[in-house]
């Protein structure tokens, strides 16, 4: 583990009164490798290591901790601070309905997360959500959301005669307003951040609905590419938060730090399974522990 590696690296620090730069450099090499192996983006690793080095060099060697424990604490605290920060709750306004857009790359877990989040909002936040899928491309995508809606007893707006995402959006919004739903969650089709036409489609849906939340749904096992897609979605559409899915796997989840550090938006939910109750709020300390191994 990282702690064991740092112990070896810093064993010559015994008897010293300060954490020297030479020792910290050796420790930073170990930390860099550990974070890259945990899938943290290499640019973010650089920023992280610089931040930790700044905090560590010249610090008094504390009596209560061994040098490696002290460095581990600085690393853990810095990672938790980078991951946490602002409020990670869904924001609501008095508008009716509040619109939440679910966006992201293909297969990341948007449709499943739409079900999970609507169930959470209904049971834990006393909201009355209506769901709609504007994925007119993927075979049986709208069926999938309909089946999910049935399973969790949350209404799904359906208009099989419509095949244009924007028309569907307008019709669903109108239906939500007329039937008094206070929340409308829009499940969008998976798309590449480099697909200009489809990114414009998201901008149009946003313009149509003025959402209070645009959640980027990202797979926890994503590697170095996480930064590219998250940054592009944020720059072109504007995100208000992130949902990190498939955290019930054994991926270290470095993508969480990469995304949070690069776009500065909070991780609002974590998907921890395929069932519709497998949703957790984000705990920066738990994710920090996991990334650091």
């Amino acid at each position: 583990s990282l702690s064991e590696k740092l112990k070896k690296t810093l064993k010559t620090l015994r008897g010293e009164s300060k954490l020297t730069e030479a020792h910290i450099d050796a420790a930073m090499r170990e930390i860099r490798i550990a974070l890259l192996e945990a899938d943290v983006n290499f640019k973010v690793v650089k920023q992280f290591v610089d931040a930790v080095k700044e905090k560590a060099v010249g610090q008094d060697v504390l009596q209560a901790l061994s040098p490696h424990q002290q460095v581990v604490k600085i690393v853990f605290d810095e990672m938790q601070a980078m991951l946490g920060g602002e409020s990670a709750d869904i924001e609501f306004t008095s508008k009716t309905p509040n619109v939440i857009m679910m966006v992201g790359l293909q297969g990341s877990g948007k449709t499943t997360s739409t079900g999970k989040i609507s169930r959470f909002l209904s049971q834990n936040r006393k909201r009355h959500p209506l769901l709609v899928s504007v994925d007119v491309y993927r075979p049986a995508a709208r069926n999938q959301l309909a089946v999910i809606g049935q399973a969790i007893n949350i209404p799904v707006f359906e208009a099989p005669e419509l095949s244009d995402p924007l028309e569907l959006t307008r019709a669903a919004l109108k239906d939500a307003q007329q039937r008094g739903f206070d929340t409308l969650i829009i499940d969008t089709a998976g798309r590449l951040h480099i697909d200009d036409e489809l990114m414009v489609e998201l901008q149009q849906i946003k313009a149509e609905t003025s959402p209070t939340e645009i959640l980027f749904v990202a797979d926890a096992m994503t590697g170095q590419d996480a930064v590219k897609s998250a940054t592009e979605f944020n720059e072109r559409i504007g995100l208000t938060g992130v949902v990190l899915t498939k955290m019930d796997g054994d991926a270290r989840g470095g993508a969480a730090l990469s995304i949070k550090q690069m776009i500065g938006k909070p991780i609002k939910f974590v998907g921890v399974g395929e069932k519709y109750d497998a949703l957790e709020q984000f705990h920066p300390d738990r994710i920090a522990q996991r990334i650091l191994g």
Binding site: T111, A140, M221, A226, G254
Partner: protein, 288 residues
């Protein structure tokens, strides 16, 4: 790396970043850069053209080794399906959302175009509308699909499909399985049972097990490959979503450690977006 330059420490640092950024893994990246650094120090490599040449040959050696070592059993592409095995049973496996179902449609299309009778088996009886999704594809391709209602034991659907295939003298059966995380023991056991049932109904089945990996997967892809190859007889990898910005470098680590050949590459969401893996094109794209 455009144009011929002399090799400076900055170039080597940039190379390390490109390699790490492609997800080939830290250790592999550091090893490759170190190998190059030593050759530079011994004046065996003098400019970036020679550096690229060495790097290409190192990566190609890793990527082409598996195909050379797996002879006989597995096919290189849909054009190699052995005519004496009927039904030839293929199974698509992998974690959630990587593109298994879509890849089956693409592959079924290629196999049908070769003049084979293809049948698909909707053995994902768990996820919402999974069978519906495969059925839409099957209808578009005008090929039969065997399915059961949600919640049915997936091994039972495999059994049904193989009975039907034998009765109809179908050439190829492709089994779709539910996405599953490799650290879920019960789900991996379920997969092993499906494979075992197939082997009981058709000798040597499944003849081809393709592990589907998302090109954007990080180091966890190696663990996925380790666990799936332990559970079922994986014969090849399909690397999907290479039309995105991810490089899919994790297949280098997988080729190195497990020797599983990469069979196909997915390059989009349409039926024709599947090509036979080309190691040369893959290595070239790492530097684009």
């Amino acid at each position: 790396f455009r144009g011929k330059k002399t090799i400076s420490p900055e170039i080597l640092e940039e190379l390390e970043e490109i390699l790490i950024g492609s997800d080939i893994g830290v250790q592999t990246a550091l090893d490759l850069v170190e190998k190059i650094r030593q050759q530079v120090n011994r004046k065996l490599i003098n400019d970036t053209d020679e550096l690229k040449k060495l790097l290409r040959s190192e990566l190609l050696a890793i990527l082409t080794a598996p195909a050379k070592s797996i002879s006989g059993r597995a096919v290189r592409s849909e054009t190699d399906i052995p005519l004496d095995i009927r039904p030839y049973v293929m199974m698509m496996v992998g974690v959630n959302g990587v593109g298994k179902t879509t890849t089956i449609a693409k592959l079924a299309n290629l196999i049908k175009r070769e003049g084979n009778d293809v049948m698909v088996c909707a053995a994902d009886t768990f996820r919402a509308a999974a069978a519906d999704q495969l059925t839409v594809w099957a209808d578009r391709l005008d090929i039969p699909v065997i399915q059961q209602k949600p919640g049915t034991d997936p091994a039972a659907v495999v059994y049904d499909a193989l009975q039907a295939a034998k009765a109809r003298n179908t050439d190829v059966v492709i089994v779709d399985t539910a996405g599953r995380l490799h650290n879920k023991i019960n789900l991996m056991n379920e997969l092993e049972k499906m494979s075992r049932i197939a082997g009981r109904e058709v000798p040597q089945a499944p003849h081809e097990v393709l592990l589907v990996l998302d090109a954007a997967t990080g180091q966890n892809g190696l663990e996925q490959a380790r666990q799936f190859t332990k559970t079922v007889p994986v014969t090849g990898i399909v690397l999907t979503k290479l039309d995105g910005t991810a490089k899919g470098g994790i297949v280098v680590a997988i080729a190195r450690e497990l020797g599983v050949p990469i069979r196909y590459v997915g390059t989009g969401e349409q039926i024709d977006d599947l090509t036979v893996f080309s190691p040369e094109e893959f290595v070239n794209s790492l530097f684009e």
